[in-house]
Symmetry: C2
Subunit: 210 residues, 2 copies
Amino acid sequence: MKLHDFDPAPNAQRVRVFMAEKGLEIPIVEVKVRDGVMFEEPYRSMNPFAVVPFLELDDGTCIGESVSICRYLEDLHPTPSLMGRDPKERALIDMWNRRIELDGYLPTMHALRNADPAFQGRVVPGTRNDLVQFPEIVERGKDMLLILLERLEAQLADNRFIAGEAFSIADITGYFLIRLGVRLDFPIPDDRPNVARWYEDVAARPSTRA
Amino acid sequence: MKLHDFDPAPNAQRVRVFMAEKGLEIPIVEVKVRDGVMFEEPYRSMNPFAVVPFLELDDGTCIGESVSICRYLEDLHPTPSLMGRDPKERALIDMWNRRIELDGYLPTMHALRNADPAFQGRVVPGTRNDLVQFPEIVERGKDMLLILLERLEAQLADNRFIAGEAFSIADITGYFLIRLGVRLDFPIPDDRPNVARWYEDVAARPSTRA
Protein backbone atom coordinates (compact mmCIF):
# COMPACT_ATOMS: atom_id res chain seq x y z
CA MET A 1 0.00 0.00 0.00
CA LYS A 2 1.27 3.48 -0.91
CA LEU A 3 -0.19 6.92 -0.32
CA HIS A 4 0.33 9.32 -3.24
CA ASP A 5 0.43 12.66 -1.56
CA PHE A 6 1.21 16.35 -1.92
CA ASP A 7 2.39 17.71 1.40
CA PRO A 8 0.88 21.26 1.26
CA ALA A 9 -2.64 20.16 0.21
CA PRO A 10 -5.23 20.32 3.02
CA ASN A 11 -6.85 17.07 1.83
CA ALA A 12 -3.50 15.31 2.01
CA GLN A 13 -2.95 16.72 5.49
CA ARG A 14 -6.37 15.45 6.62
CA VAL A 15 -5.38 11.88 5.74
CA ARG A 16 -2.00 12.21 7.42
CA VAL A 17 -3.57 13.46 10.67
CA PHE A 18 -6.05 10.56 10.52
CA MET A 19 -3.17 8.08 10.10
CA ALA A 20 -1.20 9.69 12.95
CA GLU A 21 -4.22 9.44 15.28
CA LYS A 22 -4.34 5.71 14.51
CA GLY A 23 -0.57 5.24 14.68
CA LEU A 24 -0.45 4.02 11.07
CA GLU A 25 2.64 4.34 8.92
CA ILE A 26 2.13 3.94 5.18
CA PRO A 27 4.85 4.63 2.60
CA ILE A 28 4.29 8.05 1.04
CA VAL A 29 5.06 8.98 -2.58
CA GLU A 30 5.29 12.76 -2.96
CA VAL A 31 3.58 13.77 -6.22
CA LYS A 32 4.99 16.76 -8.14
CA VAL A 33 1.52 18.28 -8.46
CA ARG A 34 2.80 21.73 -9.49
CA ASP A 35 4.62 20.20 -12.50
CA GLY A 36 1.27 18.87 -13.80
CA VAL A 37 2.25 15.19 -13.52
CA MET A 38 -1.33 14.31 -12.46
CA PHE A 39 -2.36 14.90 -16.10
CA GLU A 40 0.31 12.56 -17.49
CA GLU A 41 0.79 8.79 -17.36
CA PRO A 42 0.91 6.80 -15.16
CA TYR A 43 -1.15 9.18 -13.00
CA ARG A 44 -3.78 9.89 -15.63
CA SER A 45 -4.86 6.24 -15.71
CA MET A 46 -4.40 5.57 -12.01
CA ASN A 47 -6.31 8.64 -10.88
CA PRO A 48 -8.44 10.20 -13.66
CA PHE A 49 -9.91 12.83 -11.32
CA ALA A 50 -6.35 14.21 -10.97
CA VAL A 51 -6.47 15.22 -7.31
CA VAL A 52 -4.35 14.17 -4.33
CA PRO A 53 -4.20 12.24 -2.12
CA PHE A 54 -4.94 8.76 -3.39
CA LEU A 55 -4.12 5.35 -1.96
CA GLU A 56 -2.64 2.67 -4.23
CA LEU A 57 -3.32 -0.86 -2.96
CA ASP A 58 -0.98 -3.79 -3.62
CA ASP A 59 -3.40 -5.15 -6.28
CA GLY A 60 -3.20 -1.84 -8.17
CA THR A 61 -6.61 -0.51 -7.08
CA CYS A 62 -6.50 3.24 -6.49
CA ILE A 63 -8.76 4.81 -3.87
CA GLY A 64 -9.21 8.57 -4.19
CA GLU A 65 -11.12 11.05 -2.00
CA SER A 66 -9.62 11.75 1.41
CA VAL A 67 -12.65 10.60 3.41
CA SER A 68 -12.93 7.36 1.39
CA ILE A 69 -9.24 6.66 2.09
CA CYS A 70 -9.91 7.24 5.80
CA ARG A 71 -12.95 4.95 5.62
CA TYR A 72 -10.79 2.17 4.16
CA LEU A 73 -8.12 2.62 6.85
CA GLU A 74 -10.82 2.66 9.57
CA ASP A 75 -12.25 -0.61 8.22
CA LEU A 76 -8.80 -2.26 8.33
CA HIS A 77 -7.76 -0.69 11.67
CA PRO A 78 -10.90 0.06 13.69
CA THR A 79 -9.04 1.01 16.91
CA PRO A 80 -8.83 3.79 18.01
CA SER A 81 -12.14 4.58 16.36
CA LEU A 82 -12.36 7.85 14.45
CA MET A 83 -15.54 7.08 12.48
CA GLY A 84 -17.73 5.33 15.07
CA ARG A 85 -18.01 1.91 16.74
CA ASP A 86 -21.65 1.06 16.04
CA PRO A 87 -24.30 2.04 13.46
CA LYS A 88 -25.61 5.04 15.41
CA GLU A 89 -22.16 6.45 16.21
CA ARG A 90 -21.03 5.90 12.62
CA ALA A 91 -24.10 7.73 11.27
CA LEU A 92 -23.72 10.69 13.64
CA ILE A 93 -19.99 11.13 12.99
CA ASP A 94 -20.63 10.85 9.25
CA MET A 95 -23.40 13.45 9.57
CA TRP A 96 -21.15 15.92 11.38
CA ASN A 97 -18.25 15.32 9.03
CA ARG A 98 -20.55 15.98 6.07
CA ARG A 99 -21.98 19.14 7.61
CA ILE A 100 -18.46 20.52 8.12
CA GLU A 101 -17.45 19.54 4.59
CA LEU A 102 -20.57 20.48 2.63
CA ASP A 103 -21.50 23.66 4.50
CA GLY A 104 -17.98 24.92 5.24
CA TYR A 105 -14.87 23.14 4.00
CA LEU A 106 -15.96 22.92 0.34
CA PRO A 107 -17.38 26.46 0.04
CA THR A 108 -14.23 27.81 1.76
CA MET A 109 -11.96 25.73 -0.48
CA HIS A 110 -13.79 27.04 -3.57
CA ALA A 111 -13.52 30.57 -2.14
CA LEU A 112 -9.75 30.19 -1.77
CA ARG A 113 -9.41 28.85 -5.32
CA ASN A 114 -11.38 31.84 -6.60
CA ALA A 115 -9.44 34.35 -4.48
CA ASP A 116 -5.76 33.39 -4.68
CA PRO A 117 -4.02 34.28 -7.99
CA ALA A 118 -1.88 31.14 -7.56
CA PHE A 119 -4.98 29.06 -8.49
CA GLN A 120 -5.56 30.77 -11.86
CA GLY A 121 -5.90 28.08 -14.54
CA ARG A 122 -6.89 25.46 -11.96
CA VAL A 123 -9.87 27.03 -10.25
CA VAL A 124 -11.74 23.70 -10.15
CA PRO A 125 -9.73 20.97 -8.36
CA GLY A 126 -8.18 18.40 -10.69
CA THR A 127 -8.60 20.49 -13.85
CA ARG A 128 -6.44 22.68 -16.09
CA ASN A 129 -8.51 25.16 -18.08
CA ASP A 130 -9.37 28.82 -18.51
CA LEU A 131 -12.30 29.09 -16.07
CA VAL A 132 -12.19 32.53 -14.47
CA GLN A 133 -12.06 33.30 -10.75
CA PHE A 134 -15.38 34.71 -9.51
CA PRO A 135 -15.33 37.12 -6.50
CA GLU A 136 -18.97 36.11 -5.87
CA ILE A 137 -17.82 32.57 -5.03
CA VAL A 138 -15.38 34.03 -2.51
CA GLU A 139 -18.15 36.08 -0.93
CA ARG A 140 -20.57 33.15 -0.74
CA GLY A 141 -17.87 30.91 0.76
CA LYS A 142 -17.37 33.44 3.56
CA ASP A 143 -21.17 33.73 4.05
CA MET A 144 -21.45 29.96 4.43
CA LEU A 145 -18.44 29.72 6.75
CA LEU A 146 -20.05 32.28 9.11
CA ILE A 147 -23.37 30.40 9.13
CA LEU A 148 -21.60 27.11 9.89
CA LEU A 149 -19.50 28.65 12.69
CA GLU A 150 -22.67 29.96 14.35
CA ARG A 151 -24.10 26.43 14.32
CA LEU A 152 -20.83 24.87 15.48
CA GLU A 153 -20.69 27.33 18.38
CA ALA A 154 -24.02 25.93 19.64
CA GLN A 155 -22.87 22.32 19.21
CA LEU A 156 -19.50 22.95 20.92
CA ALA A 157 -21.17 24.76 23.85
CA ASP A 158 -22.56 21.35 24.86
CA ASN A 159 -19.91 18.98 23.53
CA ARG A 160 -16.14 18.65 23.91
CA PHE A 161 -15.70 17.63 20.28
CA ILE A 162 -17.81 18.18 17.17
CA ALA A 163 -19.60 14.83 17.18
CA GLY A 164 -19.77 14.50 20.98
CA GLU A 165 -17.31 13.57 23.75
CA ALA A 166 -14.89 11.62 21.54
CA PHE A 167 -12.44 13.00 18.98
CA SER A 168 -13.41 11.93 15.46
CA ILE A 169 -12.77 12.54 11.77
CA ALA A 170 -15.25 15.46 12.00
CA ASP A 171 -12.72 17.29 14.21
CA ILE A 172 -9.97 16.70 11.67
CA THR A 173 -12.15 18.16 8.90
CA GLY A 174 -13.14 21.05 11.18
CA TYR A 175 -9.51 21.79 12.06
CA PHE A 176 -8.62 22.17 8.38
CA LEU A 177 -11.77 24.23 7.78
CA ILE A 178 -10.51 26.80 10.31
CA ARG A 179 -7.07 26.79 8.67
CA LEU A 180 -8.63 27.38 5.24
CA GLY A 181 -10.56 30.30 6.75
CA VAL A 182 -7.31 31.79 8.06
CA ARG A 183 -5.83 31.61 4.54
CA LEU A 184 -8.81 33.74 3.43
CA ASP A 185 -8.07 36.26 6.25
CA PHE A 186 -11.19 34.97 7.95
CA PRO A 187 -10.16 33.70 11.41
CA ILE A 188 -12.59 32.47 14.09
CA PRO A 189 -14.76 35.49 15.06
CA ASP A 190 -14.47 36.78 18.65
CA ASP A 191 -18.09 35.83 19.41
CA ARG A 192 -17.36 32.10 18.92
CA PRO A 193 -15.51 31.22 22.16
CA ASN A 194 -16.46 27.54 22.10
CA VAL A 195 -15.19 27.13 18.55
CA ALA A 196 -11.93 28.82 19.64
CA ARG A 197 -11.59 26.55 22.72
CA TRP A 198 -12.21 23.43 20.61
CA TYR A 199 -9.76 24.57 17.90
CA GLU A 200 -6.99 25.07 20.48
CA ASP A 201 -7.68 21.60 21.89
CA VAL A 202 -7.39 20.01 18.45
CA ALA A 203 -4.34 22.06 17.42
CA ALA A 204 -2.54 20.86 20.57
CA ARG A 205 -2.78 17.20 19.50
CA PRO A 206 0.56 15.76 18.30
CA SER A 207 -1.21 14.34 15.21
CA THR A 208 -1.68 17.82 13.73
CA ARG A 209 2.08 17.99 13.22
CA ALA A 210 1.96 14.83 11.05
CA MET B 1 -38.00 4.93 13.64
CA LYS B 2 -39.52 7.74 11.55
CA LEU B 3 -38.28 9.53 8.46
CA HIS B 4 -39.05 13.25 8.45
CA ASP B 5 -39.33 14.02 4.80
CA PHE B 6 -40.38 16.56 2.18
CA ASP B 7 -41.55 14.75 -0.92
CA PRO B 8 -40.30 17.17 -3.65
CA ALA B 9 -36.74 17.55 -2.25
CA PRO B 10 -34.07 15.64 -4.22
CA ASN B 11 -32.26 14.65 -1.00
CA ALA B 12 -35.49 13.17 0.37
CA GLN B 13 -36.01 11.30 -2.89
CA ARG B 14 -32.47 9.88 -2.73
CA VAL B 15 -33.23 8.26 0.64
CA ARG B 16 -36.60 6.92 -0.56
CA VAL B 17 -35.01 5.29 -3.63
CA PHE B 18 -32.33 3.78 -1.36
CA MET B 19 -35.05 2.36 0.92
CA ALA B 20 -37.02 1.00 -2.05
CA GLU B 21 -33.94 -0.78 -3.43
CA LYS B 22 -33.57 -2.49 -0.04
CA GLY B 23 -37.29 -3.17 0.33
CA LEU B 24 -37.46 -1.13 3.56
CA GLU B 25 -40.63 0.53 4.77
CA ILE B 26 -40.21 3.22 7.40
CA PRO B 27 -43.05 5.47 8.58
CA ILE B 28 -42.77 8.86 6.88
CA VAL B 29 -43.73 12.20 8.45
CA GLU B 30 -44.22 14.85 5.77
CA VAL B 31 -42.71 18.14 6.97
CA LYS B 32 -44.37 21.39 5.89
CA VAL B 33 -41.03 22.85 4.80
CA ARG B 34 -42.58 25.70 2.80
CA ASP B 35 -44.38 26.96 5.95
CA GLY B 36 -41.01 27.38 7.68
CA VAL B 37 -41.72 24.80 10.40
CA MET B 38 -38.05 23.67 10.31
CA PHE B 39 -37.18 26.92 12.10
CA GLU B 40 -39.74 26.35 14.88
CA GLU B 41 -39.96 23.87 17.75
CA PRO B 42 -39.86 20.90 17.90
CA TYR B 43 -37.90 20.86 14.63
CA ARG B 44 -35.40 23.53 15.65
CA SER B 45 -34.08 21.39 18.51
CA MET B 46 -34.37 18.06 16.70
CA ASN B 47 -32.64 19.22 13.56
CA PRO B 48 -30.72 22.50 14.02
CA PHE B 49 -29.35 22.44 10.46
CA ALA B 50 -32.98 22.78 9.29
CA VAL B 51 -32.81 20.57 6.21
CA VAL B 52 -34.74 17.45 5.22
CA PRO B 53 -34.70 14.51 5.34
CA PHE B 54 -33.77 13.37 8.80
CA LEU B 55 -34.30 10.09 10.59
CA GLU B 56 -35.67 10.07 14.15
CA LEU B 57 -34.71 6.92 16.07
CA ASP B 58 -36.86 5.44 18.84
CA ASP B 59 -34.46 6.82 21.49
CA GLY B 60 -34.93 10.37 20.10
CA THR B 61 -31.59 10.57 18.29
CA CYS B 62 -31.94 12.45 14.99
CA ILE B 63 -29.70 11.55 12.06
CA GLY B 64 -29.52 14.17 9.31
CA GLU B 65 -27.72 14.15 5.96
CA SER B 66 -29.15 11.83 3.33
CA VAL B 67 -25.96 9.77 2.86
CA SER B 68 -25.56 9.34 6.65
CA ILE B 69 -29.16 8.10 6.86
CA CYS B 70 -28.41 5.62 4.06
CA ARG B 71 -25.23 4.53 5.85
CA TYR B 72 -27.24 3.79 9.01
CA LEU B 73 -29.84 1.80 7.05
CA GLU B 74 -27.07 -0.10 5.23
CA ASP B 75 -25.46 -1.00 8.58
CA LEU B 76 -28.78 -2.36 9.89
CA HIS B 77 -29.83 -4.03 6.62
CA PRO B 78 -26.68 -4.92 4.66
CA THR B 79 -28.49 -6.96 1.96
CA PRO B 80 -28.85 -6.10 -0.88
CA SER B 81 -25.66 -4.10 -0.56
CA LEU B 82 -25.73 -0.55 -1.93
CA MET B 83 -22.58 0.71 -0.19
CA GLY B 84 -20.18 -2.25 -0.54
CA ARG B 85 -19.61 -5.63 1.06
CA ASP B 86 -15.95 -5.39 2.05
CA PRO B 87 -13.46 -2.59 2.84
CA LYS B 88 -12.29 -2.14 -0.76
CA GLU B 89 -15.80 -2.12 -2.25
CA ARG B 90 -17.00 0.26 0.46
CA ALA B 91 -14.12 2.66 -0.22
CA LEU B 92 -14.62 2.63 -4.00
CA ILE B 93 -18.39 3.15 -3.81
CA ASP B 94 -17.87 5.93 -1.27
CA MET B 95 -15.26 7.50 -3.58
CA TRP B 96 -17.62 7.48 -6.58
CA ASN B 97 -20.54 8.73 -4.54
CA ARG B 98 -18.39 11.60 -3.26
CA ARG B 99 -17.13 12.48 -6.74
CA ILE B 100 -20.71 12.71 -8.00
CA GLU B 101 -21.76 14.77 -4.99
CA LEU B 102 -18.78 17.10 -4.59
CA ASP B 103 -18.02 17.68 -8.28
CA GLY B 104 -21.60 17.65 -9.60
CA TYR B 105 -24.60 17.30 -7.35
CA LEU B 106 -23.62 20.08 -4.92
CA PRO B 107 -22.46 22.63 -7.53
CA THR B 108 -25.63 21.92 -9.54
CA MET B 109 -27.83 22.21 -6.45
CA HIS B 110 -26.19 25.55 -5.59
CA ALA B 111 -26.66 26.62 -9.23
CA LEU B 112 -30.37 25.85 -9.04
CA ARG B 113 -30.75 27.75 -5.75
CA ASN B 114 -29.02 30.75 -7.34
CA ALA B 115 -31.07 30.53 -10.57
CA ASP B 116 -34.67 29.83 -9.56
CA PRO B 117 -36.58 32.84 -8.13
CA ALA B 118 -38.47 30.40 -5.87
CA PHE B 119 -35.27 30.05 -3.78
CA GLN B 120 -34.92 33.76 -3.02
CA GLY B 121 -34.51 34.19 0.73
CA ARG B 122 -33.24 30.62 1.13
CA VAL B 123 -30.32 30.47 -1.26
CA VAL B 124 -28.22 28.45 1.20
CA PRO B 125 -29.97 25.20 2.27
CA GLY B 126 -31.42 25.30 5.78
CA THR B 127 -31.28 29.10 6.13
CA ARG B 128 -33.63 32.06 5.90
CA ASN B 129 -31.81 35.31 5.16
CA ASP B 130 -31.20 37.98 2.55
CA LEU B 131 -28.23 36.44 0.72
CA VAL B 132 -28.51 37.34 -2.96
CA GLN B 133 -28.59 34.92 -5.90
CA PHE B 134 -25.34 35.07 -7.88
CA PRO B 135 -25.44 34.22 -11.63
CA GLU B 136 -21.73 33.36 -11.35
CA ILE B 137 -22.60 30.41 -9.09
CA VAL B 138 -25.07 29.20 -11.74
CA GLU B 139 -22.38 29.45 -14.42
CA ARG B 140 -19.77 27.63 -12.32
CA GLY B 141 -22.25 24.88 -11.46
CA LYS B 142 -22.83 24.24 -15.17
CA ASP B 143 -19.05 24.30 -15.82
CA MET B 144 -18.50 21.67 -13.13
CA LEU B 145 -21.40 19.51 -14.31
CA LEU B 146 -19.90 19.39 -17.82
CA ILE B 147 -16.46 18.43 -16.47
CA LEU B 148 -17.97 15.66 -14.35
CA LEU B 149 -20.09 14.29 -17.22
CA GLU B 150 -16.97 14.04 -19.40
CA ARG B 151 -15.28 11.97 -16.68
CA LEU B 152 -18.41 9.85 -16.08
CA GLU B 153 -18.62 9.13 -19.81
CA ALA B 154 -15.17 7.51 -19.64
CA GLN B 155 -16.08 5.51 -16.52
CA LEU B 156 -19.42 4.34 -17.97
CA ALA B 157 -17.81 3.31 -21.27
CA ASP B 158 -16.14 0.49 -19.31
CA ASN B 159 -18.68 -0.15 -16.54
CA ARG B 160 -22.39 -0.90 -16.41
CA PHE B 161 -22.88 1.26 -13.31
CA ILE B 162 -20.91 4.16 -11.85
CA ALA B 163 -18.90 2.18 -9.31
CA GLY B 164 -18.59 -0.99 -11.45
CA GLU B 165 -20.88 -3.88 -12.38
CA ALA B 166 -23.23 -3.54 -9.40
CA PHE B 167 -25.87 -0.86 -8.78
CA SER B 168 -24.92 1.29 -5.77
CA ILE B 169 -25.71 4.50 -3.91
CA ALA B 170 -23.44 6.30 -6.41
CA ASP B 171 -26.02 5.54 -9.13
CA ILE B 172 -28.80 6.98 -6.99
CA THR B 173 -26.82 10.19 -6.46
CA GLY B 174 -25.96 10.28 -10.17
CA TYR B 175 -29.60 9.82 -11.18
CA PHE B 176 -30.64 12.87 -9.13
CA LEU B 177 -27.65 14.82 -10.46
CA ILE B 178 -28.99 14.38 -14.01
CA ARG B 179 -32.46 15.41 -12.86
CA LEU B 180 -31.09 18.56 -11.21
CA GLY B 181 -29.31 19.34 -14.50
CA VAL B 182 -32.61 19.02 -16.38
CA ARG B 183 -34.18 21.55 -13.97
CA LEU B 184 -31.40 23.96 -15.03
CA ASP B 185 -32.21 23.28 -18.73
CA PHE B 186 -28.97 21.36 -18.90
CA PRO B 187 -29.80 17.82 -20.06
CA ILE B 188 -27.20 15.13 -20.85
CA PRO B 189 -25.20 16.41 -23.87
CA ASP B 190 -25.45 14.41 -27.12
CA ASP B 191 -21.79 13.45 -27.00
CA ARG B 192 -22.25 11.46 -23.76
CA PRO B 193 -23.94 8.26 -25.04
CA ASN B 194 -22.74 6.08 -22.18
CA VAL B 195 -24.10 8.49 -19.59
CA ALA B 196 -27.42 8.49 -21.47
CA ARG B 197 -27.51 4.65 -21.63
CA TRP B 198 -26.74 4.40 -17.90
CA TYR B 199 -29.36 7.04 -17.01
CA GLU B 200 -32.07 5.16 -18.92
CA ASP B 201 -31.10 1.95 -17.14
CA VAL B 202 -31.41 3.59 -13.74
CA ALA B 203 -34.61 5.47 -14.58
CA ALA B 204 -36.23 2.14 -15.56
CA ARG B 205 -35.77 0.70 -12.06
CA PRO B 206 -39.03 0.52 -10.06
CA SER B 207 -37.27 2.14 -7.08
CA THR B 208 -37.09 5.50 -8.87
CA ARG B 209 -40.86 5.76 -8.56
CA ALA B 210 -40.60 5.47 -4.74
